[in-house]
Amino acid sequence: MSAAEPLVLVVEDELPLRRFLRTALSSHGYRMEEAPTLEEARRLAPVLLPEIVLLDLGLPDGDGMDLLRELKAGSPVPIIVLSARGREEDKVRALDLGADDYLSKPFGTAELLARLRVALRHAAALSGAKAEPTLDLDGLHIDFANHEVKRGGEVIHLTPNEYALLAALARHAGKVLTHRQLLREVWGGSAAAQPHYLRVCMAGLRRKLEQDPARPRYLLTEQGVGYRFRES
């Protein structure tokens, strides 16, 4: 069970895509098992205990969301959903149901590997490995212990909400967080109906952190889904 190469379970009905994934994954240090149907995935998941699951939402024998719910109920295995372009509602639903990230088809190897890396890192952080106390990216420095943010060595003053938003995104660097997840994280449950709090706060944060707030380098917008802190 403790093979060095992480095991990826790919739940996908299209053979060409599975073939592409097999090549991409095996040449980058992953092992891969495949399940072309939900049925097969249900059978394999408890036996193989994969480290991560790639789940296509459009499978012929049922709704991928059901499997997502079942897998998440059983274990904290990270799940990345594969979805067609233009189905933003599906992505948000999957993310709010506990999926860790998504990939819009068609996607390239670089994107795939980045998502896998991020999801595995966060899964490791959750299962007890120590979270990084600081984050450094292109001259931006975040000290989570002291709630301190510096850019180019200069301390940047953030409001408590701005800091909370930045910290939520930066702690999950590289992972998309939905509007709902961020609103709950920063403002608590009651603010879920006020998406503009989030937009205003994000605009303020970008003005303080980004060189050009209209072309952000750290705080990326995933239109219709949420926000993502650039991974590296």
Binding site: H196, A214, Q223
Partner: protein, 478 residues
């Protein structure tokens, strides 16, 4: 009343005769009676005229013809006088009656014609079946002073129901429609009911509730019904013609789209197939050659993907199924996310951004696509390295976005056509594209209730989008 008038006339004639008798001849007295008869005949109808004539004859005989104050007649000549008096009464009454009925008929015809004319002008106004129905009902209600309902038939010959009609009345209406015969008061069928139903051919039934009309007015109903039926027929035919026209246009467009798209699909496909077979079959390719072929596969696949995405977007825009979910978002953010998607194509191209700081109301996912298409377009048609500029202003109740480039601009006089599907400007030869991007932009912008225009700057071209802002933007007190 009329009898009273007749008696009065006879009495007056007798009185005048009595005073005149001393100075006049008996024949003159007869003339006075004749006048009374003529008056009665002209004014009071034939029966009263005849009665007046008889009374006058009696009075003349009794009061004036010797021996006076008896009905005896000495001179047989007087019998002739009586005959003439009766004859004149009859003749005048008959002629008057005829003239009167002719005049009445003319007046009724005039009224019919006027009523039909008014109906015709009501029917001539544009509108669909429901508009015509509402207008006809309200016009006829004013004209006929009773409740009027047009009951239209569906394609299977069932009349629509109406809350004003009881079950039995609906059945009568349906019967009228099925048999094409009028029913209700004043008609041979079911004269005891409270509705008159007049069939309007295959279109339905004209119903009048408790109409207060003489047979004259009622004779108008078939003409009304026929005219309404004709109008419904006309609307139907027009709708069919428009439909047929639309279908033909759609067909034409589909054919153009198909031929154009199949070309645009085939080109990258042949590139991919070629490169892939070269990789599979050719021996001894060096690493650089392999990478070149792989690069072209990747590039052509990207082209295919953009085309397919555009086709899908266009289908969504055109099918009318585009659901615009407007939200208040910050202008900067929606532009920013579009630019992030364009990072690769933008490369090092200078981009001047001038964005107002404020809220706009739009569907961020759809609008991001608009911006992506517009910027891609501007990049495609302007020289490598030449700057493009994006400006966003907030004005009273609207937001204005302008994207300008230093390319050749739009063909003169064809600025509006660049948004047409499959339109490719004269200067687009040699530039890849299917003419879908701007059509998608127009569809999305218009689904937002906004407008999009193209115009030429000197130098360059500009696309301007105006979107309405409704209601209050959120307060920034978070």
């Amino acid at each position: 009343m009329r009898i009273g008038g007749a008696l009065g006339l006879v009495a007056a004639a007798t009185l005048i005769g009595h005073f005149a008798y001393r100075h006049l001849d008996l024949a003159d007295v007869a003339m006075i009676y004749l006048l009374a008869i003529a008056v009665a005949a002209a004014r009071m109808g034939r029966r009263i005229a005849l009665m007046t004539a008889l009374l006058c004859v009696g009075s003349l005989d009794f009061f004036f013809i010797p021996p006076r104050f008896t009905f005896a007649v000495n001179d047989v000549r007087h019998i002739g006088t009586f005959g003439v008096m009766l004859g004149v009464g009859w003749l005048v009454a008959t002629l008057t009656e005829r003239i009167r009925s002719q005049a009445q008929a003319a007046q009724a015809r005039e009224q019919h014609a006027q009523a039909l004319n008014r109906l015709a002008s009501v029917l001539a106004e544009d509108g669909n079946v429901q508009h015509v129905k509402a207008r006809v009902e309200s016009y006829l209600e004013r004209e006929l002073h009773c409740a009027v309902r047009l009951l239209l038939a569906d394609g299977e010959g069932h009349l629509e129901s109406h809350a004003d009609l009881a079950e039995a009345e609906r059945a009568v209406a349906q019967w009228t429609f099925d048999h094409g015969r009028p029913s209700g008061p004043g008609t041979p069928s079911l004269p005891g009911t409270s509705w008159i139903f007049e069939p309007m051919g295959r279109w339905g039934v004209l119903g009048l509730h408790h109409p207060d009309m003489g047979p004259n007015r009622q004779s108008l109903l078939p003409a009304f019904a026929a005219q309404i039926g004709l109008t419904l027929e006309r609307i139907h035919l027009e709708a069919e013609r428009t439909q047929a026209h639309l279908r033909a246009e759609e067909e034409q467009l589909r054919n153009t789209l198909l031929s154009c798209v199949s070309h645009d699909l085939r080109t990258p496909l042949s590139g991919i197939t070629g490169a892939a077979t070269a990789l599979l079959e050719a021996e001894g390719l060096d690493r650089a050659e392999e990478r070149l072929l792989l690069g072209s596969i990747h590039q052509e696949a990207g082209r295919l993907q953009r085309l397919v995405n555009n086709l899908l977007d266009l289908t969504r825009v055109e099918s009318g199924r585009l659901q615009v979910q407007k939200e208040w978002v910050l202008l900067e953010e929606v532009v920013g996310s579009a630019l992030a998607r364009l990072d690769d194509v933008l490369g090092a191209r200078p981009l001047e951004l001038r964005l107002a700081d404020g809220w706009v109301q739009l569907d961020p996912v759809l609008f991001e696509q608009v911006l992506v298409n517009l910027v891609e377009n501007a990049l495609k048609y302007s020289a490598e390295g030449s700057p493009i500029r994006l400006e966003g202003r907030l004005e009273e109740g609207q937001v204005v976005l302008e994207l300008s480039d230093l390319g050749p601009g739009f063909p003169k006089g064809e600025e509006a056509r660049v948004f047409e599907k499959l339109y490719r400007g004269a200067n687009s030869k040699g530039t890849p594209g299917a003419g879908l991007g701007l059509a998608i932009c127009k569809g999305i912008v218009e689904a937002h209730g906004g407008c999009i225009e193209a115009r030429n700057l000197n130098p360059g071209g500009q696309i301007r989008i105006t979107l309405p802002l409704e209601g209050e933007p959120p307060q920034e007190d978070a």
